[in-house]
Symmetry: C2
Subunit: 245 residues, 2 copies
């Protein structure tokens, strides 16, 4: 089916060109309050959003993410962070001893923060705004931790642009629904299904070659391998190491 026909939520498109008008503090506060009511594991709310307003700071964050212009252009830009620092502060201030669970802490905080961020995206789009998630901030994760003065227990996950859209790009394709949703047990991914998915995904990139995108990010020698050690160093520095140094 075409998700355009009768959308339950506004159709999502990543917006990379924004009008200069501000979102407005009243609307922004409503959006953030809505986002904050995302589900949270065990009531702990292990998410923090750093709202980057200072233009010079914004420029430096954009540079870390490979000079993506929309990071500077969007009326609002947030760095979405997994945060167990605030929880530790509450426990300690209350005379309790925080447990040691770096792996599970990173998991639950990453989920908490991502749920808040997606609810912010859905609320923003319902209000007519555009959004764009920026995974590229991971390219400079160690510098970003410095720039935003993130304490131990906090790591940046991705950036989020938000503002009034100046473009209406086509809706991007996705894998066949059957590739993402399996029944009862993890299903086989057969050669014909793979070929179908690769063909369907071609339109996601201007080159029409999805495998070239996947290769540049995920194949041996690609972007994700370059991000691996800086990310591990960032985890260790922020107290999320699950390995011995």
């Amino acid at each position: 089916m075409n998700v355009d026909d009768d959308p339950i939520l506004p159709v999502h498109r990543s917006i990379r060109s924004y009008r200069p008008e501000p979102v407005g503090e009243a609307l922004l506060e409503r959006l953030l309050a809505t986002a904050q009511h995302a589900p949270t594991d065990a009531t702990a709310q292990m998410a923090t959003l750093i709202r980057v307003q200072d233009p010079e700071l914004r420029r430096r964050v954009a540079a870390l993410a490979g000079e993506q212009e929309h990071v500077c252009e969007a009326a609002e830009f947030f760095v979405v962070c997994a945060d167990i620092h605030r929880l530790h502060t509450i426990l300690t201030a209350s005379g309790l001893v925080p447990g040691q669970f770096p792996g599970v802490g990173l998991l639950f905080a990453t989920v908490d923060a991502s749920l808040v961020a997606q609810r912010l995206v859905d609320a923003a789009e319902a209000a007519g705004l555009g959004t764009c998630c920026i995974g590229g901030i991971l390219d400079g994760v160690e510098d970003l931790i410095e720039l935003l003065a993130l304490p131990p227990g906090v790591v940046p996950l991705f950036g989020l642009c938000l503002g009034w859209p100046a473009e209406q790009p086509p809706v991007r394709p996705r894998l066949a629904l059957e590739s993402m949703v399996h029944t009862d047990r993890y299903g086989n991914y057969s050669e014909p299904r793979i070929a179908e998915d690769v063909a369907a995904m071609a339109a996601i990139t201007r080159s029409g070659d999805w495998l070239r995108v996947l290769s540049s990010y995920f194949a041996s020698g690609g972007v994700m391998e370059e991000r691996e050690w800086p990310w591990r160093r960032a985890l260790a520095r922020q107290g999320f190491a699950t390995w011995r140094e």
Copy 2:
């Protein structure tokens, strides 16, 4: 402000009591197609939902999560998984060599899967359905991987109940917005703010004692520490270890 006054999205409440009527395949497909259009890093869609339909399997999954009745009662129950297996399969089938990035892979796949899940929650609530995220599946993560036959590169993150609500619980409180959203740099969390947040959060639990909940989960000897080693073993087994065995 009260998020009830003029909601941009339906106000979120976790629903733990469901009517028996099915969601209906047509509506469910629309919801899943909407969810699938969540943002995804580098077009890779590293998310899989296991739809648990078999009643006996559902009962066993519910038992792993501490016999939460709503897991069995909800018309639909999904296990939300981080998945780099499908991506690896696509790369390999296309003659490409997948890179080695277990830490970054887990991060991006966890974010991808959480964004899809929250978009499913937001779409479901917009259609009048209720949802409940189940973090407790982590209590039996190793058994769950067996039950769902998850291949290497796939880990379960949390469960998601979805169905027609048979209750309308009060909206749960959240921290002060200023505690979650910081400007430009990570902000201080002062004693008076902590006391305010702890007081505001009291209503989230029937006991009226939020610190008791936090203590049972997050303090030394709590639930999160119990989940740490099974989670690390699950990560190692599924190929996400960032440490030496």
